[in-house]
Amino acid sequence: MNPTRSSVPWFSRVALILLGVLFLLPFFWMVSTSLKPLNETMKLPPQWLPSSPQWHNYPDAMQAMGPFWLYARNSLLLAFLNVVGTVFSSAFVAYGFSRLDWRGRDGCFFVLLATMMIPFPVVMVPIYGLFRALGWIGTFQPLWVPAFLAGAFNVFLLRQFFLSIPRDLSEAARIDGCSEFRIFWQIILPLAKPALLTVALFQFMATWNDFLGPLIFLARENQYTLALGLQALQGTISGTPWHHLMAASTLVLLPVLVLFFLTQRTFIRGIATTGLK
């Protein structure tokens, strides 16, 4: 920041503070509601804070969701498989698109970029048919096997990073006696750690947040992810116990927040680079 620039006008400061409060309010409201007794959630005009925080709302909400820990385990398992699958396969593919010269590479890469324009709802019907034919409906496979076939966006991201690694290094390694795979594994991957971490974080979020995939491909309740479990809670209970719904929503959000705060630097940098190409 350049101190010589003219100082910030007062209305900028006020606007920032106001907007900041507005953006935080829903979080506040979520947590506040989650700690209220049911009757206080209904009060008019609303009560900002619970008269006494009802911590037991959280275990109660988990109870109401049914096998909460099973759902959490399912979500974690899927997130783990997706992260591992996408990080390695996308890095592998990105290597082919950035550190090797071969005829047709740029054409293929263009096709890869174009596939980012095909959203899941467009192709979900035949994909469902495909998985059905494989007998995978009602299993976890549809939700993690594709991750091992590289994601276009992640490939794009990693390719940009790989391109920034000097070519000399690969050549030195080649003369040192590395095979192509070893260059990938021992030279490029260790150097790309920040980018790999970014991809891993994005993929974790994407899987943890995914709703449509589990909705379509999972059948039995014991396979539900947290997202589906929470939706079921929303659907099944009558009388809308908002304190429980807010508690459960907070619980689903919590791991994401923790992860974000642990990796904030990488995360923000990752987001920033995705938009700047």
Binding site: M1, N2, R5, R13, L16, L19, G20, F23, P26, W29, M30, L44, P45, P46, V93, G96, L100, D101, W102, R103, R105, C108, L112, I118, P119, P121, V122, V123, M124, V125, P126, I127, G129, P146, L149, A150, N209, F211, L212, I216, A227, L230, Q231, Q234, G235, W242, M246, A248, S249, V252, L253, V256, L257, F260, Q264, I268, T273, T274, G275, L276
Partner: protein, 305 residues
Amino acid sequence: MTLGERRNLIKGLVFVSPWILGFLAFNLYPLIASIWFSLCDYSVLSEPVFLGAQNYVDLWHDPVFWKALRNTIIFAVVAIPLSTFLSIGLAVLLNQPIAGQGIYRTIFFLPSLVPAISLAILWQWMLNGPMGLVNNLIRPFLNIINAVTGSHLQAPDWLNDPNFALWGLILTGLWGTGQAVVIYLAGLQEVPEELYEAAELDGTNAWQRFLHITLPMLSPVIFFNVLMSIIGALQTFAVPYILTGGGDGPGRSLLFLATYIYQNAFDYWNMGYASALALCLFVLIIGLSLVTVHYGEKKVHYSDR
């Protein structure tokens, strides 16, 4: 092709082979199969039966399809400019020498981390007619307006009022716009300080500097983001689906093409019709993207060209 070139080609293909497999299985095959299914009566449970263009004829006469198409387009056309303005505005506000810049950036970014399920349930509560926080914030202002002008404005029952449900969703979307703020802020910080200093010496005011330096320098980022937002907005499904408790809102006001595809495919098992809808959505995405590219490319300023 020389021996070396052939060797390189094989190496390259080995490395990109996972993607090629994925592309064939999850992009190319589904697109082609969609075309075939859309010409069939197909329920997944039995083999597709060729119908010809019947699904498309039905679609043309299906008022629900038009409703979904209309909602989808309105949502995209309203939400994308709004969130673009909001996020550029926030980024510009943040790109000032203020204390706590990082904290503000985090605050604006956080909502975009919230999983769709939590986000939708939270906003269902926020937008609740009598008890929701949104209305409780609005009411005092409405009361003042009513007192001054003698009108009888009421806070809307957002999600239960066909006229307001879409706006409720847009509001939800605006709260989650933080990712773009971070991207725009990074873009703003890439603009060389000398440009502003030179312009200041040339006697420009802040607004002129924004118009003639900030916007052009930021235009490639804006362009890229808008393109991504279009693709995102057109496939919107989870949040409205959960906001409406697994439905499509009062008077189908929150029915989107993706929702309608889902309903046809997995509620009615009418995969043929769903495929026809999916292709319409695909054409819409390609069309809107091409329009954006066509009008955008001319206005975008690439500093390295």
